[in-house]
Symmetry: C2
Subunit: 528 residues, 2 copies
């Protein structure tokens, strides 16, 4: 496929006219135990994708498969893997898959081997992490480091934070948890000050993460932290590490203890498996656990090469989501992990999905005629059951659900109470919810009647370890990528953030903006 | 207004036929500095509600005002305050306003003074909190307590947690932060084990919060914690406190160090200003700061009695939201606090709003003909700008925005960087976003074009202190209540959670459920 191939949108396929008329399948009629057995696909890392409770008929899946072939979704994925310029607006390659393997061979462009470069940076950060974890690399006072604070925002915060929380208890249980991780993201100084109040200044490493080296929030927080260290007589150059691109002002800069590199081909929301996530995760959880995560992601990436959606979990999830959004018109999707460790994983997916596909301009520079990326929300179960599930069960709009679950705990202490372990209770709740949402239940009291017909999918694994988490992460990255292809969007840029940045500079300009509306709001908020 | 008054829905008012035809106002045309000055209402606690950037015309607001009068929204609020049975399905009064004052006089029913009862429980918990904070009440080993862990789920978790985080830095700055707060909510044992790994068992108080004393998750977590204490030779009866109703199994029970009471008239999602939030907030932040919060909430409650929406921020916010949802058809609403301290406030509002109004059955037992409560999502700014704002700016669907901001920090350390403090940068970003969303910007490159017309409101205050937070909390409680009245919903029950509970019991039943579908899913997740 050429760089300038005329990509199309699913509504332009021959499959579409039939597809768009297919109604939602009635789950109360079709969902049974046999369907649960039939509708399962391996998703990598020991995960299984179950789509029994999706209200998409086999007939619809056949049509979606036809559309996927017409659109060349797997070919487009192979173009990504081959280093073609798939982020066309910004004229960039999209190389995050190369961070964790070479599912279609190494990416070598103009003689430069990106796969080898990322692997070498990975090995370098592992050595750094081992030096800190073992105590060989010491503080200025000769002590070992105990805390590490990541300073970054957006993809430099959400993914790494979600992954750290996802594996913290696992690493504690297996003895690999060494340093404690903290995160400073918001330009609100209460964020940085709150984190700094909880750490020992002399025994803390800081990681400044900014690909361009120009992110306003991150530089402001770095300056705040450097001042704070200086006031305490500490040398920031011995405690601050950079993750950036080789062309940024932070690169090759003696103000940093060390620097690790990414490049413009690693988008922020796709950077968790680069040094952006790697430095803090290898420091705290250990290089081996981070490598497990990369291996799980690589496995999911390989599985995503399969052409038949019924054998390709990411592709199938993508197509079912397109059907929910663009045929059935459903505006939002909820991500509901039955795992407290995944408490911030929905926030990461919110960025991944909404920033990638929350767009109206297609790659052919025409406006989309279909609804594109949905609103993403989510909190862990069972917590959500005691919160917003009311609307999911009995609200006006149907919100497709994405459940995530594991058969085992990350921690050992799980005494039985009233005849069952907490793990069994947790997963019994999940089971019950899937069935309740799908089937509903009539009741003479309309207040207690459940209409059912609320679709859900389930990603289920044995335990949330490094491999499973890596596969989970890559599953969603690839799902979002396939959806972008199907809608003919560029899922790899984010032009929607630029206008706000420009207007912010106007407000901050010393001479005033000359825009009375900006002034009026700035007066209201004190930003003058 | 009688208990059995035939309430109606806004689509049944005389105002509706005209109202429903009014289009969104074009913000690019009408939003100017004068409108910012005109469209402001005090919201209590020093907060101002700015609705200049809402795309609802004066004509529409006139019609909404007419509808509010026809529906008797303020009369219905007064019925709540008078102790009428406004939660009709469950045949209960709705008394959370009485927790913080008596805006329409004390609530006395059958000779029992609820206002006095709640106030007395408040004073009792203040004395308990002071005894712990001062070190008069000691651990078994004679030390002072340093940590406090709340065990609760849903409203016993989300509101208290959001409020604690909202005031933690403020309390640290003012010297009133004494104990550290932690929260265990999920039945996933990794949640409890993760929290327990971070505290000193001998110096920790636990608060078990369950109104009924039968909440599955909370009892399982309590059992886990009691076992954990016992294994360490500690006496749980000296470290565990209960917040419950007087009729629950936890009440008047020597297994607890002390107990504080609420009743069936305080709904979970409306309980943050009761002992549910009060015990942990008074212990950690101090009774005075919790009292400030109550005072701020009481002020907002009083302001919400005003009949004219243009002078009643909660009522106006409610009506504008009904217009967005039911006239303009917008499915989701984003809550975007430009304050890191409010990081979990959107999660609280998600429960408050979606559990209250995510319903289709009206109070007259007919199905709603209008879209009712929206999906709620949100994260703090500026973080969200680097995440899901892409969809908010350039996505297909318009998502109305609710900004929250403050003129000052909670913490002191805010050095200037590149010519401005972080606070100024934060609020300059907010200002820029409001204007960018509203006005948009044409561009020859369709990828860089912003259509604008994305409405937002702003709640802005001087600083996030106890009073401002109390008013903010009550503002949203009252907003959601008025919206429920306008849609003729019972905003105070949550029947949508019951079916899942029943099916969970079937999965957990030792004899098996006899439901092969449940078995199939239980087999998949290991919940067998």
């Amino acid at each position: 496929m050429k760089q300038d191939a005329p990509y199309t949108s699913i509504d332009q396929t021959a499959a579409w006219p039939a597809l768009r008329t297919i109604p939602a399948e009635r789950l109360a009629d079709c969902l049974d135990a046999g369907r649960v057995q039939r509708r399962q696909v391996p998703a990598g890392g020991g995960l299984t994708y179950s789509y029994a409770a999706m209200d998409v008929s086999d007939q619809a899946i056949d049509r979606l498969t036809q559309a996927a072939t017409e659109l060349g979704l797997i070919d487009q994925y192979r173009s990504v893997l081959a280093g073609e310029v798939m982020n066309r607006g910004e004229k960039r390659m999209v190389l995050h898959h190369a961070l964790r393997g070479a599912p279609a061979g190494p990416v070598v462009v103009d003689g430069f081997d990106f796969t080898a470069f990322y692997a070498a940076e990975g090995q370098r950060l592992y050595r750094f992490a081992e030096a800190v974890r073992s105590g060989r690399l010491k503080t200025a006072a000769g002590a070992s480091f105990v805390d590490v604070v990541q300073i970054g925002i957006g993809g430099s915060d959400l993914g790494p934070r979600a992954l750290y929380l996802a594996l913290e208890q696992h690493a504690r249980s297996t003895g690999s948890l060494k340093l404690r991780a903290h995160f400073i993201s918001n330009v609100d100084p209460d964020d940085a000050n709150g984190v700094l109040a909880a750490i020992d200044p002399a025994r803390c490493l800081f990681i400044v993460v900014s690909k361009s080296g120009t992110t306003q929030e991150t530089l402001a927080n770095e300056a705040l932290v450097r001042g704070w260290l200086q006031e305490r007589g500490l040398d920031a150059a011995r405690q601050v590490v950079a993750v950036t691109s080789q062309t940024s002002p932070l690169a090759h800069n003696p103000a940093y203890l060390d620097s690790f590199y990414i490049d413009d081909y690693i988008g922020g929301r796709y950077s968790a498996t680069s040094a952006v996530g790697g430095v803090i995760l290898a420091l705290t959880l250990g290089p081996q656990l981070f490598q497990d995560l990369l291996d799980g992601a690589a496995e999911a990436d390989r599985l995503a090469l399969e052409h038949d959606p019924r054998r390709n979990a990411a592709l199938l999830d993508a197509l079912l989501g397109v059907f929910e959004r663009s045929v059935l018109g459903r505006a939002a999707t909820a991500v509901l992990p039955y795992s407290q460790a995944l408490s911030r994983f929905p926030a990461h997916l919110q960025q991944l999905d909404m920033e990638s596909n929350g767009k109206t301009n297609r790659r052919d520079d025409r406006p989309t005629v279909l609804p594109t990326g949905p609103v993403i929300l989510g909190e862990p179960g069972t917590n959500g059951q005691h919160s917003f599930y009311q609307l999911l069960h009995q609200g006006v709009d149907i919100v497709p659900l994405q459940f995530i679950a594991f058969r085992r705990n990350q921690t050992d202490h799980d005494p039985a109470f009233e005849g069952s372990s907490a793990r069994r209770k947790l997963n019994a709740n999940l089971t019950a919810q899937i069935v309740a949402f799908a089937r509903g239940k009539p009741d003479a009291d309309p207040n207690k009647a459940f209409s059912g017909g609320r679709p859900s999918s389930l990603l289920v694994g044995d335990a949330l370890d490094g491999r499973a988490l890596g596969a989970l992460l890559a599953h969603y990255e690839n799902k979002v990528m396939f959806q972008g292809f199907a809608w003919n969007l560029n899922s790899f840029d984010q032009e929607g953030v630029q206008l706000g940045k420009k207007l912010t500079q106007q407000v901050l300009a010393p001479s005033g903006s000359g825009d009375s509306l900006l002034d009026a709001y700035a007066g209201l908020t004190g930003a003058v």
